[in-house]
Point group: C2
C-alpha cells in the first residue's frame, strides 16, 4: 500500500471515530464502576485509524486463518477494544455496557471468551511476545499474508519479555509484525522512566533490528502514514506514539492519580468529548479467505524399547516426538537452546521446517508456542523443568487463554546428579498441578514416555510431561497403553499391608523396596502414578481400602507433588488411609544420581525403612 | 585509577595466570568427570586480569562489607571461579579436585556454601540483575565504594531479565557495575544469534545508557585497559570480549559439540596449555575495611484496628511496614509500579530513601532484593500475587542461595472482583509452599496482617505474605499475637462434628457458615490457618481426633494450597480424618467479590452445604 496522505474529510471522520471510541470506553467503565478508561483514551486515535484503514479482519468469520491479528498487550485498555468491536458491528451497544459484569464476555481484561480475542492479556509484557509467535506462524507455517498488530503500553517496555520479543522478531525479520506503543508517560503510581522520550525507546528498539517511527499519537495523518509505512518496510516495526493518558477530558488528561478508575463525571466527560456517536466501520476483509487448515495425520509408529534395557525417559520422548512429527503435519517443536539435552534435537534434525530455536529466552519460548496454537498448530515446548519456571506467568496466562500446549521439562529432580540444585526441577509438579485445566504426566520408562508424548497431542489445555536425565530400566512391554488419568499396579497381592505410590525415577526404587520388604515378609503394593493430574482416584481408593496405608515417594519437594495428589484422591474416602510421604527434604548439592537419591531419602533403602516405620507405628 | 599500559613482563605473568586458570579448570572437570571446562577456558584471560589487577577483595574476610563483588552470571563456568580461588589462596588444590563430589563446597554451579559466593547461579540471566541490586546497595544503602563485577555469557543475553538489568542500571547510572561478557559465540546446541558480532551487543546495550567497550578477550593489554576504563567512566560498563570457547586446546577450541563435558584427553590438554602451574596472587584489599553494619532497632508500635471494622489486609500490611521502617533502619522496600495497590506506597511516602521503584519488571524486582539481602538489608518485595509468578525462577534460585526475602503478594484470589483472572493470584500458595525452606502466611484481618508483616523481618529464608484487595472484618483484638507456625481456633465446642479450616478471605465465610450450621444444630469448629507453612500440626491433629472430619476452604486452586497443607499435616495420624476441600474449581471471569466467591463455591453458603454433605455421606 503506498503511503498516501489523507484528505481533510477522512481525517475528520477518523477523528470522530477516535472520539467515539473514547466516549464508549468512558461509558463502559462508568457502567461497570471500574476499569481503565484513561489508558483506553490515550490509544483511541491509534486504534481508530488502525480499524478503519489498516486492519484486515472478517468479524463474521473469526476463524478465517487469513485474518489479521490484533492483540492488546496492554490488556487493561480493554474498554477501547470493546469500543472497537462496537464500531465494527461485532457487538451491540447493550453488550458494551455489560463490561465487567458477572457472566459478560467483556471481562476486565480481554480473554478468548470473545471470538476475536486470540489470547488473554492483562499481565503486561505478554502480548508482543505472543505476537511474535503469530508472525512466525504466518510466515513459516501458515504461509498466509496476515499481519499482526500489537497495542503495547510504554510501562510494559520495562518487562524483559518485551526485549526477548524484540530480539526474536528482529533476528527473524518479521515484517508482518507491528508494535504500536502508546507512550502516555504514566504508569500506575507515577511517570515511567522515560516519560514522553520516544527517542529513548526508539534507540533501544532499533538496536534490536526493528524499524521505528516516532509520531504524535493524536495526529490522524501521522498515525495513518506510520501504519502504512509499517506495512511496507519489510522489517518488524515499532510505532512510538506520544499520547496523553485520559486524552480529551481535562479532569483526567495527563493527570496522575487517574489510573484504573472510571472518570469522575461521566456526563461531563461525554459532553466534553462531543457526545455519544454511533459510527459503524466496514473493516476491510482479509486478502485470503481460507478455511482452517486440516492437518495431515498418518499412521503413528512409536519407538519401542525392550524390557530391561536402560533408556532415559527424555530419549523415549525425543524419539516419539520425532515419530509423531512424521505422522502429523501439525506438530511443531520449540526449544530454548537445550535441544541436545531435552532430546528435542531429534525432532529438529528430522523436521527442521517445524522446529523453532528460541535460544535462552523461556518467556519468548512459551509465548511463541501460544501464538502458534492460536492458529491450530500443536506446539511442544521443551527446556529443563527447572527453567520452565522462568515462564511461569506465561504458562499461567496461557491457561487463562485456554491454550493447547504440550510442555516438556527435562532434567527433573535430584536424579540429574552432579549439576546441582540450580538445574533441578523440584517444584515443577506443584506448579503445573496448580494451573487451570492442566494435565501432569511423570513417566518412569521410555515406552511410557513415548506413549504419553503422543497422547498429549490430543489432550487440550496445558499438558506437562516430566522427563529425567539418567537411564532408567524399561519396565513395560512394547504396546502397553498408558491412558491419561490411569496408573499401573506393578506389585500386588491379596495380603498387601501397605501401598507404595511412586512416579518417574522413584518407581524402580519402589519396586526394589517392595522386593526387600517381601524378604522381611511384608507384602507391599506398588502403584506407578504416571498420571499425576488427573489422578487415578479409583485405583488409589482401592489401595486405601485394601491396605489402609499409603506411602508416596517423589523426586520433588514434599509439597505440591504426588504426595498431595494422592492425599487429595483418598481424602474424601469414608475409610481414609494413613498417608506417609517421602520427598526431597534437604537442599541438594552435587553428587552422583545414586548419592542424590540416597541423600534425599527417596531411594529403595529409604522407602523400605519408611514403610517399616509406618507399619510399626 | 589511570589507564596505564602493562609492560611486557606483566603481560607475560598475566598470560601465565590465564593458562593456569585453564589448566585448573580442565583438571577439576576431569576429576569430576563432568562440568563445563570449555566455557571456563574462554573467560580465563578476562578473569586472570580482573583477579590480579582490578578486584579488591579480602578472601580472609568475606564478610567485610567493603569487598568488591564478583558474580558468575554464567554459573556453569564454575571451574574457572574455583581455579581463581586456588590462585588467590582461598582454597587448596586438593579441594579444587573435589569439584562436583557429594559433600564438596565446589558444586556444579556456585552456591553460597562457599563464603565468597554471594548468590547461587546456574540459571542463566540472573547474575547481572542481582549485580544491579548490589550496585544499588553500594551506592544508596551501604554507601561504600565497592565495585560489582559480573561475568556474563553471550548466550544469556537472550534472557529478558538481562535487559531489565541493563535498563535498571542504565537509568540509575550505576557506575560501580561492570558486565564482562564472554562472547565465545557458542551456546549448548550451536552458535548464538550474533556469533562474534560484539557490535550487535554493544549497540543494544549502549542504547540502554551503558558505556560499552569491545575487545579481544584473549589480549591481556586490551582486557586490562577495558577493566580500568570501566572503573573510571562513571556509567555502568559492558565489556564485550570476543573469545574462543575451549581456548588453548585445539581439540575443543571453538568447536561445536564440546559444551558441558570434560576435555577428551586431560593430559594432552594440560601439556598443550603449558603444564600445571602454581602461581599465587595477592589480591588487592578493599579500600574500606568495615564491620558488618548493625541496624538501628527501635521500639516497634504496630498499627491496630478495632474489632468489627472493615479493613483490607493489604492496608494492615502497608501501615505495619511503614511502622517497621520507622523502627528498624535495615528494612528496605521494592515495588513494581503497583505501590498504590500493594500499599507499599505508604512506606515510599514515609521512607523514600529506603524505597526502590523497580517499575514493571518483576524479575529485576526480586533480583535487586536478592542483591540487597547479600549485604544484610531486609528487603520487602511487593507486587500482585499473580505477577510474582513472573519472577518464579528468581525466587527458586533465591531459595537455593538461602536468601532472606520478605515477599508480599497483593490482590490474591478471586475476591479481587471485576479485574478478572489475569490479575488473580490463584496458584501463589502452591508455588511458595514448594520453595525450599519457605514460609507462607495468609492473614485474614488487618491486625493479623500487621503482626505477620513484622514477624517476617526476622524469619529468614523466603517468607511470603498473601494479602487481599477488599476490606474484610477485623476479627482479632488489638495486641493479639500470631506466631508463625500457629493457628487460631475461632469456634469450638466439645461437641464439634467437623472442622472448617480457612485462611484469608475464607475465614469470615467459614465463621458465617459455622453460624448457619449451628442454626441447624451442627457444631463446627473453625480454624484460621494463617500460617500455611509451617502449619500448626498439633491443632489440626487435635481437630482431626476431636471431629474426624475436616473441610478446607481456600480462595486458590484446589491444588497446592491449604487443602494440601492440611492433608500433609494430618495424613500420618493414626486416626486419619476425612478430608473435604473447597477451592476455586472454575475459571473465574469478572464479577463482584461476592459473586466471585459464590461462583467459585467458597462462600458461606457453599461451605455450609459442603459441610452438611460431608456429615451425611
Amino acid at each position: 500500500m503506498p503511503v498516501a496522505t489523507l484528505d481533510s474529510s477522512r481525517i475528520a471522520a477518523l477523528t470522530e471515530l477516535g472520539q467515539q471510541l473514547r466516549v464508549d470506553a468512558v461509558r463502559a467503565a462508568a457502567a461497570a464502576g471500574s476499569g481503565h478508561p484513561t489508558s483506553a483514551m490515550s490509544a483511541a486515535d491509534l486504534m481508530a485509524v488502525l480499524l478503519a484503514n489498516h486492519l484486515h479482519y472478517d468479524f463474521a468469520a473469526s476463524r478465517n486463518p487469513g485474518n489479521d491479528h490484533l492483540i492488546f498487550s496492554k490488556g487493561h485498555a480493554s474498554p477501547l477494544l470493546y469500543a472497537m468491536y462496537v464500531a465494527a458491528g461485532a457487538i451491540s451497544d447493550d453488550e458494551l455496557l455489560s463490561f465487567r459484569e458477572a457472566g459478560s464476555r467483556l471481562e476486565g481484561h480481554p480473554t478468548p471468551q470473545l471470538p476475536w480475542v486470540d489470547v488473554a492479556t492483562g499481565s503486561l509484557g505478554q502480548g508482543l511476545p505472543i505476537g511474535v509467535g503469530l508472525a512466525l506462524t504466518g510466515r513459516d507455517l501458515d504461509r498466509l499474508g496476515y499481519r499482526v498488530w500489537v497495542l503495547c503500553g510504554d510501562g510494559e517496555l520495562a518487562e524483559g519479555s518485551m526485549w526477548e520479543a524484540f530480539e526474536h522478531a528482529g533476528h527473524e525479520e518479521l515484517g508482518a509484525l507491528t508494535a504500536i506503543v502508546d507512550v502516555n508517560r504514566l504508569g500506575q503510581t507515577g511517570p515511567t522512566r522515560h516519560g514522553w522520550d520516544t527517542a529513548a525507546y526508539a534507540r533501544r528498539i532499533a538496536a534490536f533490528g526493528w524499524h521505528t517511527i516516532e509520531i504524535d499519537g493524536h495526529d490522524i495523518g501521522q498515525i495513518d502514514r506510520a501504519l502504512a509505512e509499517a506495512e511496507t518496510t519489510g522489517a518488524p516495526t515499532a510505532i512510538l506514539a506520544r499520547t496523553r493518558k485520559g486524552k480529551g477530558v481535562a479532569a483526567v488528561e495527563d493527570a496522575e492519580g487517574a489510573h484504573g478508575k472510571p472518570l469522575p463525571d461521566e456526563a461531563d466527560a461525554i459532553a466534553e468529548l462531543g457526545g455519544q456517536r454511533s459510527l459503524r466501520i466496514e473493516v476491510a476483509a482479509p486478502s485470503v479467505i481460507a478455511q482452517p487448515r486440516l492437518p495431515e495425520v498418518g499412521r503413528l509408529v512409536l519407538p519401542t524399547y525392550p524390557e530391561g534395557e536402560a533408556v532415559a525417559t527424555r530419549t523415549g520422548f525425543g524419539e516419539a516426538l520425532t515419530a509423531l512429527g512424521g505422522a502429523r503435519s501439525d506438530v511443531v517443536v520449540l526449544d530454548g537452546d537445550v535441544g541436545d539435552s531435552t532430546r528435542a534435537g531429534y525432532f529438529r534434525d528430522a523436521h527442521p521446517e517445524r522446529f523453532f530455536e528460541c535460544y535462552i529466552a523461556e518467556q519468548q519460548l512459551v509465548a511463541a508456542a501460544v501464538g502458534m496454537q492460536v492458529q491450530g498448530w500443536i506446539p511442544y515446548v521443551c527446556t529443563f523443568a527447572a527453567f520452565l519456571s522462568r515462564a511461569a506467568d506465561f504458562l499461567r496466562m496461557a491457561a487463562v487463554s485456554g491454550a493447547h500446549l504440550c510442555v516438556v521439562g527435562s532434567h527433573a529432580g535430584v536424579s540429574i546428579g552432579r549439576d546441582g540444585p540450580s538445574q533441578m526441577g523440584l517444584g515443577d509438579v506443584a506448579f503445573f498441578r496448580a494451573l487451570w485445566r492442566s494435565t501432569v504426566l511423570c513417566p518412569c520408562d521410555a515406552n511410557q514416555a513415548a506413549w504419553l508424548t503422543a497422547a498429549m497431542a490430543d489432550r487440550g489445555g496445558i499438558s506437562y510431561l516430566r522427563t529425567t536425565r539418567g537411564e532408567t530400566p524399561v519396565l513395560y512391554p512394547e504396546g502397553e497403553h498408558f491412558p491419561i488419568g490411569g496408573s499401573k499396579i506393578l506389585r500386588s497381592s491379596p495380603g498387601d499391608e501397605l501401598t507404595l505410590v511412586a512416579a518417574g525415577v522413584t518407581v524402580p526404587e519402589a519396586i526394589t523396596a517392595a522386593d526387600r520388604l517381601a524378604e522381611d515378609g511384608i507384602a507391599a503394593r506398588v502403584i506407578d502414578l504416571y498420571s499425576v493430574k488427573p489422578v487415578d482416584v479409583a485405583t488409589l481408593q482401592q489401595a486405601a481400602a485394601d491396605t489402609g496405608c499409603l506411602l508416596t515417594v517423589e523426586d520433588h519437594w514434599p509439597q505440591g507433588g504426588i504426595g498431595d495428589a494422592v492425599a487429595e484422591a483418598v481424602g474424601h474416602s469414608t475409610a481414609v488411609p494413613r498417608l506417609g510421604r517421602l520427598g526431597v527434604l534437604a537442599l541438594p548439592g552435587s553428587g552422583s544420581p545414586a548419592e542424590q537419591l540416597q541423600h534425599a531419602g527417596i531411594d529403595a533403602a529409604a522407602i523400605a525403612d519408611a514403610a517399616r516405620g509406618m507399619l510399626e507405628s
